[in-house]
Structure formats: structure tokens, C-alpha cells
């Protein structure tokens, strides 16, 4: 069964304390992996797309990497404004040939000043 698992479920960091969030997946026919940031009561905000193993993308204090089985979202020297839920989603091809998106349940990040 296609699955996307994110860990940890919740993470508390001190300001400046770097860490990584994990997104592991088991899907057939991976087309792309997406990272989103979601603030409370808001829709997810697109961050990155990764298409192939070895690919990396960066934006400010965030860097996303991709292997054949998982993706990491590295947060360097986080600030309180980085507090949010980070979602991972995988786009795969179903057996019928259509695209499908599978979202993880997210990692709730809290950065303390």
C-alpha cells in the first residue's frame, strides 16, 4: 500500500538549534515529492518540489533533500517564525495510470525564543 510517514510528529527547538524533519515513503511510480508549510487555521503554503534522488532545494533557513526512500527538511538556525506544521506529499502514478497525491500527517514544529 502506498504510504507517506512523517517523523517526528512534534518537535520543539530552541532558537538557533538546527534539526531535520523526515518524510519516508513507499509508493510505486514516484513522480515528485512536495514540502509545504501550514500555519494554524490556514491552507498549506508550497515550499519545494523534488523530482529525483540526490536533488536538493534551498530557501532561506530551509533545505530539502531526497533519496529513493525518504526526504529530509533541514532547518538551520531556526527562528520562532519558523514555527508551523510541515507537510510532505508524494505524487505517484496509480495502477490505472492517473496521478495521485498522498499527504503525510505532518510535523508540528515549535521554535522557542
Amino acid at each position: 500500500e502506498d504510504q507517506v510517514t512523517q517523523s517526528p510528529e512534534a518537535l520543539r527547538l530552541q532558537e538557533g538549534e538546527s534539526s531535520s524533519l523526515n518524510c519516508s515513503y513507499t509508493v510505486s511510480g514516484l513522480r515528485g515529492l512536495f514540502w509545504y508549510r501550514q500555519d494554524p487555521g490556514k491552507g498549506p503554503e508550497f515550499l519545494f518540489t523534488l523530482y529525483s534522488a540526490g536533488e536538493e532545494k534551498e530557501k532561506e533557513r530551509l533545505k530539502a533533500t531526497l533519496t529513493k526512500k525518504e526526504s529530509f527538511l533541514h532547518i538551520t538556525a531556526p527562528k520562532p517564525e519558523d514555527s508551523a506544521t510541515y507537510l510532505c506529499a508524494v505524487q505517484a502514478i496509480s495502477t490505472s495510470g492517473t496521478y495521485k497525491y498522498i499527504f503525510g500527517t505532518g510535523t508540528r514544529l515549535k521554535v522557542l525564543a
Binding site: 515528485g32 487555521g41 498549506p44 508550497f46 505524487q91 492517473t98 496521478y99 497525491y101 498522498i102
Partner: protein
Amino acid sequence: SQTIHQWPATLVQPVGSPLSLECTVEGTSNPNLYWYRQAAGRGLQLLFYSVGIGQISSEVPQNLSASRPQDRQFILSSKKLLLSDSGFYLCAGSRDSNQPQHFGDGTRLSIL
């Protein structure tokens, strides 16, 4: 860039009442459009998606339906709401199947 508009932000409805949530898209033509439901502690569940006017695919059998009367308009409906329909509903759009989805700010639906 693409912008997704959803309204209302919050809605409280009695059991058995009808529902109509609207989503409109700016910044792109012929987008792929999606309706999701997000439950606390769970991932986004895809409800419907559309690749064009009048073309709707349903992912999960349920009490809801969707329609796309115009290129940039996507509507989520129900004739009779159930308690289990409570949740956070998100509309999303993408330029095509290979592009990332962009989301609206959602509707928090509470059924009493």
C-alpha cells in the same frame, strides 16, 4: 502566480442542512482543481479533483459532491449534512498534473 480564493472561512450548519462551498482561482487558465478534507492529526484526504469544466473525479464515496461550472470555479456541495462532515475543507489548484498544488485558506465547517 496562482491564487486560490475560498469562502467562507468559518461555517456552522445544522445536521440535515445543505452545503455549498465555493473556490475560485486567479492567475492561471484551465487549472487542475482539488477539494481536500483535513482532520486533526490526519493527513489531507483528497475528496474530488477536476481537470476541466464539468469533469469531476471522486476519490472517496461520501455525502458530498463537487461541480465545476466554470474554468476557474469549483464548488463543493451536500444536500444533507451529517455530523461526520465536520472538518477543515481545502481547495487547491495546479497548472497541470506535474506542477505543485497551491491551496486556499480553507473553510472550517462545524455541524451541530
